[in-house]
């Protein structure tokens, strides 16, 4: 199964996302922001970073790049799309997910191993989790405060579109401790924390068992691969 990872000018974690795909057993395909070609992939990751230097608004210019017209139409046809950090911001700016992401309420960049609760285990990217499962993956952002109008918030909470919630502390002032969302169909998921940085023992978050042994992020990628196999 091929999972495309889009590189925008200013993407940082595209290589990490490609590696995470390979560690999960998938074939990683590099996609370029300036192309109109998805190169036959079965799923797409929009990686973290600072596309276009966060000019205009985080993700705003990337959301209007050539490849995104293909990504948007594929997402609307049911292709799994995962947006990580800046990728989440791009999904929001592309209106594939509701709301917006603003400067952290404390004003600072935050980098920490973040505990999350999985709220929706029925999406393409979370089917390997259990609802209520607690996972730890790195979080690193300055503009991760999720906001949305009260009516939409009520709707997404009611319809199970909150995919992940922050535990222990709210690192950026996000409404309802929301760390990640899914669309109504469950194929598009976006979150601020970085699953691709928790896929390999020795390089992940600390766990009670051993330092840097956390690999909770791998399940995002195995979920989408297993989902594709089940459909095949």
């Amino acid at each position: 199964m091929k999972i495309g990872v889009v590189t925008f000018p200013g993407s940082l974690d595209d290589r990490d996302a490609q590696r995470a795909v390979r560690r999960a057993g998938g074939e990683a395909v590099a996609l370029w922001h300036g192309d109109h070609d998805l190169r036959g992939v079965d799923a797409i990751v929009l990686p973290g970073g600072f596309s276009y230097g966060d000019y205009l608004r985080c993700g705003a210019i990337a959301a209007r790049s050539p490849i995104m017209s293909e990504v948007i139409s594929a997402a609307n046809s049911g292709m799994p799309v995962l947006g990580i950090c800046n990728g989440f911001q791009i999904l929001v700016e592309a209106h594939l997910l509701p709301g917006g992401l603003i400067r952290n309420n404390h004003g600072d960049f935050v980098c920490r191993d973040q505990r999350l609760r999985v709220e929706n285990a029925s999406t393409a990217w979370t089917s390997g989790f259990e609802v209520g499962q607690e996972i730890t993956i790195p979080l690193k952002n300055a503009e991760g405060g999720f906001i949305v109008d009260a009516e939409t918030l009520k709707r997404i909470e009611g319809e199970g579109q909150v995919a992940f919630r922050y535990l222990d502390l709210n690192p950026n002032g996000s409404l309802d401790d929301i760390a990640g969302l899914t669309n109504a169909a469950g194929n598009v998921v976006g979150l601020m924390p970085h699953p691709e940085h928790a896929t390999e023992p020795g390089f992940g978050p600390d766990t009670p068992d051993a330092m840097r042994s956390g690999t909770d992020g791998l399940t995002f990628f195995t979920s989408v691969l297993e989902g594709a196999l089940a459909r095949a």
């Binding site: 705003a60 929001v92 709301g99």
Partner: protein
């Protein structure tokens, strides 16, 4: 050459950490008469030739669709600058 100005501000009900930081600095300078600061954006769109109604309407549409995000920002004003900005000076004449 003409210039269309688009002014965008963060929504009033949202926290503006950058503005708050500036307000804090003003307070430290003893400028207590300024109780709050909010920071917005000003876009200057240069138009070769006259600004027709169609061009202005297009700018208005862009202001809403791309230059601002209605979830977090408001377009305050879209207008044609009376006197074009002088090249290279970076300031309105």
């Amino acid at each position: 050459m003409s210039t269309i100005v688009v002014e965008v501000m963060p929504k009033a009900e949202l926290l503006d950490p950058a503005g708050k930081a500036v307000a804090g600095a003003l307070a430290r300078l003893g400028k207590t008469e300024f109780s709050a600061v909010r920071i917005g954006k000003r876009f200057e769109l240069t138009v070769e030739g006259e600004v027709t109604e169609a061009v202005l309407a297009d700018a208005q549409r862009l202001a809403d669709d791309m230059l601002s995000n209605s979830v977090i920002e408001d377009v305050v004003r879209v207008y044609v600058l009376e006197k074009p900005v002088l090249e290279g000076t970076g300031s309105a004449a």
